[in-house]
């Protein structure tokens, strides 16, 4: 187990370096120059050229990549081109907010989704099942700004229970977390339902029932255990998507997270800031994937034997 984890962490390094390179290459290839954009319509070409030179942006790609990696090894993520601030500071400002929101949304999605999915699977095609399926699909299909604004109107305007946006208290977290979690609840519920249904139809479950094992035990001990793997995979992936896909939620609720930061960086072609943010995400993905794979091993020893 320990070697497994250690190996995967080691493997994370090429992944991170790879991501940085791909991002840098992509930004290089697409039209748009960070400095020209930053200085805008009112800058002279000389001003643009001077600033590019000053920032070292006129050097060839591989030189900049090598320099970046070199700095990275020393923990220096560079300076944001447009913000003129160390990337580390920019990220430090934003990632706690993102972490808070992602964890809250994931917890909600997992709890609500799994619960709804299990109930749906145990009583398939019932009224609850139909209601849950349609309801969760609604949450999945309506875009974030729709659900977000509707929730704000209901809970901040009509019923002044919660604040309109921003951070601060637990109250500030409720609406954005719910809004962000809704599509995930749908996915998790459906996947859980499908997975648990699958397992409940397995022969060994029939056998357990035939043996006289209590239904509750059948569901919790046998069914969930085996259904857990795809659910867990999905949760792991959802965690990643919640992190990166929170842009719209962050915009609607004025939540100062990494999502907005990344989008701003992309539009401004501020690849230094972008790489920093992407590195953070990549690291998170690697760790989440690792955690999920370790969980696989715990849940299904046959997989663990594969390593």
């Amino acid at each position: 187990m320990l070697t497994f984890v250690a190996r995967r962490l080691l493997l994370a390094v090429p992944v991170l370096l790879g991501v940085v390179f791909v991002v840098m290459l992509t930004v290089e290839l697409i039209p748009g120059d960070a400095v020209a954009l930053m200085l805008g319509e009112h800058a002279t070409p000389e001003a643009v050229a001077r600033l590019r030179d000053y920032l070292g942006l006129d050097k060839p790609l591989m030189v900049r990549y090598a320099a970046y990696v070199g700095h990275l090894a020393r923990g220096d993520l560079g300076r944001s081109i447009q913000q003129n601030r160390p990337v580390v500071d920019e990220l430090a400002d934003a990632w706690p907010a993102t972490l808070e929101l992602t964890v809250a949304a994931l917890a909600l999605a997992a709890a609500a989704g799994v619960a709804a999915g299990v109930v749906s699977a145990v009583w398939p095609n019932s009224l609850f099942d139909a209601f849950a399926r349609v309801g969760s699909l609604f949450g999945l299909s309506m875009p974030v700004f729709w659900t977000g604004l509707v929730l704000i109107v209901i809970f901040a305007l009509w019923l002044p229970w919660l604040p309109v946006g921003g951070t601060g208290s637990l109250g500030h977290l409720v609406l954005p977390a719910v809004t962000l979690a809704l599509p995930s609840v749908a996915m998790v519920a459906r996947m859980t339902r499908s997975s648990v249904l699958d397992v409940l139809r397995e022969d060994y479950v029939r056998t357990a029932r035939a043996k006289g094992v209590a239904e509750r035990l059948v569901v919790s001990k046998h069914a969930l255990r085996n259904a857990a793997i795809p659910i867990l995979t999905l949760l792991g992936l959802q965690a990643g998507q919640l992190m990166g896909g929170a842009v719209l939620t962050e915009t609607v609720f004025a939540w100062p997270g990494l999502g907005r930061l990344m989008v701003k960086a992309i539009f401004a072609r501020d690849y230094v800031l972008l790489q920093g943010a992407v590195l953070l995400f990549a690291l998170a993905f690697v760790l989440i994937n690792l955690a999920v794979d370790v969980a696989y091993g715990a849940l299904d020893p046959r997989i663990a034997r594969q390593g």
Binding site: L11, P14, V15, G18, V19, V22, V23, T26, V27, L29, I30, P31, A130, R133, V134, L137, L140, S141, M142, P143, F145, W146, L149, V153, P183, A186, R190, M191, S194, S195, D198, R201, E202, D203, Y204, T207, H222, I229, P230, T233, L234, L237, G240, Q241, G244, V247, L248, M262, V263, I266, V278, A282, F285, V286, N289, Y296, D300, P301, I303, Q306
Partner: protein, 298 residues
């Protein structure tokens, strides 16, 4: 523990293919929800194919003076901010919805099945490399991906859909791989191998069958996501070019008017929901129908 119980079961469910499809169709037909799904999807296809004849008005015809007209009267479902008929745009928009939903899922699945099976089945170094590539792709910001695809191929629904498909591939790959891993080591597979079946046979017969439910459920859910991602990209200018109606773009443009004319964003949003629901029910129905463990459980 799950393992002991399974040992008792034995290789009871190796399937003979011959009567599968007839059986499946029977089961499918019996599920009311599945039939509803089928009807919805069929309606969608009809709308897309017959749009020029079904739409009451030209979806691009503007009438600024009638902007944001409420549903009812001349505009059955209301008018958008340019005074264009929402119903007509909805009907024509089904083309984009089908394209975005269908093509992006196809691309994502094609990649996912290939890479996922490869990684799950081959294991070892192959698995490690493929999964690392997946991790790189997962960390890559999808907005940047979309911009890159559009820069290379030009804007428009088709190219944005390709970007969405590529975006969905890593997640699907991981799901497929996990399903393959589970199935590969199941008792059925081992039994089949013990009985002398070749690896290929095991793969096609058993593993894929195990992967299918996961894949079907995920695809139908991914479709909604795909349409919404296309919506966000369109809103930034990377997707459907005017005056092509796309449900996603209609929802996005309706954002500014949510508090004064909510129908502009809500109606296409509901259309998305209905379409996704249809695909979902269809998908569930298919999955249940194709699951041989339900045979004899009519």
């Amino acid at each position: 523990m799950a393992v002991d119980v399974r040992v008792l079961a034995g290789p009871a469910a190796v399937v003979a293919p011959a009567s599968l499809s007839a059986d499946a169709w029977q089961r499918f037909r019996r599920s009311r929800l599945a039939m509803i799904g089928l009807v919805v999807v069929a309606l969608l296809v009809v709308a897309a194919a017959g749009a020029p004849w079904l739409a009451p008005a030209d979806p691009a015809k503007q009438s600024l003076i009638e902007k944001r007209a409420r549903p009812g009267g001349k505009f059955i479902l209301g008018a958008d901010e340019f005074g264009r008929d929402i119903l007509s745009r909805l009907i024509f928009g089904s083309r984009v919805a089908l394209l975005v939903g269908g093509l992006s899922v196809t691309i994502a699945l094609a990649v996912a099945l290939t890479l996922g099976c490869l990684a799950g089945f081959a294991g070892g170094v192959v698995d490690v490399v493929v999964m690392r590539i997946v991790e790189i792709l997962l960390a890559f910001p999808y907005l940047l991906l979309a911009i890159a695809v559009v820069s290379a191929l030009g804007p428009g629904v088709l190219n944005t859909t390709i970007a969405v498909g590529i975006w969905g591939a890593p997640t699907a790959t991981r799901l497929v791989r996990s399903a393959v891993l589970t199935a590969r080591e199941s008792e059925y597979a081992r039994a089949a191998r013990a009985l002398g079946a070749s690896a290929a046979r095991v793969l096609t017969r058993h593993v894929l069958r195990n992967v299918l439910p996961t894949v079907i459920v995920y695809s139908t859910l991914f479709m909604a996501n795909a349409i919404l991602v296309e919506a966000a990209l369109s809103f930034l200018g990377l997707g459907a070019q005017p005056p092509t109606p796309s449900w996603g773009l209609m929802v996005s443009s309706g954002r500014d008017f949510l508090l004064v004319a909510p129908h502009i964003a809500t109606v296409p949003g509901l259309a998305i929901m209905v379409a996704v629901l249809g695909f979902n029910l269809l998908g569930d129905g298919l999955r249940d129908a194709l699951d041989p463990r339900l045979r004899g459980q009519l």
